[in-house]
Symmetry: none
Subunit: 214 residues, 4 copies
DNA sequence: AATGAATGAGAGTTCATTCAT
DNA sequence: AATGAATGAACTCTCATTCAT
């Protein structure tokens, strides 16, 4: 009675199809943007007829809603790790970078959602709450780091969290992410946070401009 | 007293019309995205027939090119001040914030261009060169600031410039810019750079987390 | 008893629709020329929406290709009889005349294709090969006729075939075909070929200018 | 007081412009057919503005009428030579061939007019009367040739004239005129008429199938 | 659960024509 | 006599959506 696979449970099979369609749409958006999202293409990629797509998703908007869900879950699942020990902030930054590097579509889709949220209140709400959760998570990390004495107590955890989220978000944009700027940006962010550990991808930079105590 | 308006110079009048169309398209993109850009709407907004729009811009693509030009000029003109004394980096950051605040459309359009550049090589080239110029300008500021003793000499001006550009860019995104996050982010950036002149919008908060020497 | 009409075989029904559209386009071209061919009209004539027409023929050009096929087949089917006994050249000439008389659209469409071939290499190729085949068929007839002693041996079968094809082709032109000139022309051609079997449509005019021996 | 040239007479200058426009349209039709005739292009080719074209020719149809006139005059002028001695029929055939060879546009335009006449009664009338005149001229030649003993008395001058005109007309069609078929056709026509003079373009063929004297 | 066929609404683009200057 | 600017009408083509099967 596994809920996945083409097995007994009919409603599971249905969910499979839906997932396949959502993933196809997700890829399409990553590649062509909302502008270039064609339901026919999505259906074709899954090997289905347009009409069948509309059986699963009555309207294009509902399919997009599915994509938003999928992207968010994809994002969150990787971004909100389990334990978060003391200085796992560094791990978090790397995780984001790795995620964007390994699944380049995600950046594109997030960017598209970002923009769409300016016009689509429904998406805006989802995005906002996701970012709020993210912000809170990062802020929590910062506070714990301060409590553990790994960061300067006078930092405004709200402001720093906002800045971190902003920098990480900018990395989804093509212009910033291109030409290896990503690594530059991330490295500098680590320096500012005093969590740069040298190797990463690159050279040992034991400077630590911001953490005089170090 | 240039011949703006329906006055003497005929070629100026033509340029006026073109500008009006470009601005209308610019607004449309800001409001509805590239996805929602309709030439008929643009023409109507200026009070012209579509055929007339095509008289000025043979193709939709050429109109978009006009918009790109306009947005870039809008962006650059405010971003590349003339003199740049020693600590004008702060002024620059504020200028960007003010520009995005006072002309909210600009953020939207830049975001759209940003995304489009992932698929449109022509736009990508323009965006890239603009960002490169921006990066160089900021880096130059940083280097001068270091030379004048206003910043720590060991900073990697390339990395810091990249981070600054990334943060400022992220401010064009709706999610980041909403809910007053912009100010948070900017304030923190200033702190990191050691150029913060106070909390909120302007009040003096001489903390200076990053520039211990100062 | 093939599944014509709205009966069993679904793919046959599809082919029916395609045929109906092609025939409608064929009629439109005959009536208004390529210049006046409007997809909307074609669809309307069959009782379909334009979008549906594009379902069957993705582009106007592909619809035209269908028309070319149809016209050619219409032409060939009647022009390349089965057996061709000795003096069937006469039959061939009459068949062409009858075809053009009974299906006046064909002349118009062929004329249009003729002209279009001056600008459209694709059509030019089709027309050329059709005419070549026709030329060869006629030449073959002539040679057999010579071999059987029904025509003078010294005739240049290539030249005569070219002339015959030219005359028959000219009969598709409105000016030539109008005012009963067709019959005049054909009668004279028969005389030159020595196969004339009578005046007007049928009256016996045993002159036979060309076949003195006969 | 020459009526041509850019001199004194204002109405002559006007006529010049008209002629230039007509000739430009004529060339355009030869190249692109009626289908591809664009008034803007015509005006541009003469170096005028569209609006100016409409000053000379209020409507596109009126411009076309001008082209018809021009083509007809071009055709007639060369086709109806002055003297016509006894066997000038041969000269006539050669003249037509040379005309079509030396001014290839004429064939195209005549073909277009030919087809258009199927839909445009006005053009049909002009074409018809031109062809009638041509037919009569050729018939006159034949009759004189018979009277002078250069042709067989029993020929039906009406039928032969019709056939000649048909063959010559077919030579305006691209498919017939291509691939050197023209010469074949013409040569054979000359043989049938008994006026082949051997060399022409090619080999001496003194056969003369049709001249009983042989 | 799946599909082929059909559609309405609308997109960008073209073109002959007009009008004020 | 000439033009730049403007327009209406029409064209081909696209796409999300629907419906009978």
């Amino acid at each position: 009675m596994r809920p996945t696979g083409r097995s007994a449970d009919p409603s599971a099979a249905k969910e499979d199809r839906r997932q396949a369609l959502v993933r196809a749409a997700y890829n399409q958006i990553a590649e062509n943007g909302f502008e270039g999202l064609r339901t026919r293409e999505v259906a074709a990629e899954v090997g289905l007829n347009i009409a069948t797509l509309h059986y699963y998703f009555p309207t294009k908007e509902s399919l997009i809603a599915g994509v938003v869900d999928y992207a968010m879950q994809r994002f969150r699942s990787t971004l909100a790790p389990h334990g978060f020990p003391a200085d796992q902030l560094a791990i978090h930054l790397r995780a984001v970078r790795d995620l964007l590097r390994d699944e380049p579509q995600l950046g594109g889709v997030m960017g598209e959602l970002e923009l769409r949220s300016a016009r689509d209140p429904q998406i805006a709400a989802i995005m906002q709450s996701t970012y709020d959760a993210w912000h809170r998570a990062v802020r929590g990390l910062l506070q714990r780091a301060v409590r553990h004495g790994h960061m300067r107590p006078e930092l405004d955890s709200d402001d720093v969290a906002a800045a971190i989220v902003a920098v990480l978000t900018s990395m989804t944009l093509p212009t910033v992410s291109s030409a290896g700027r990503t690594d530059r940006v991330l490295r500098q962010l680590e320096r500012w946070l005093g969590i740069d550990s040298g190797p990463g991808q690159d050279q040992p930079t034991p400077t630590g401009q911001n953490m005089p105590g170090k």
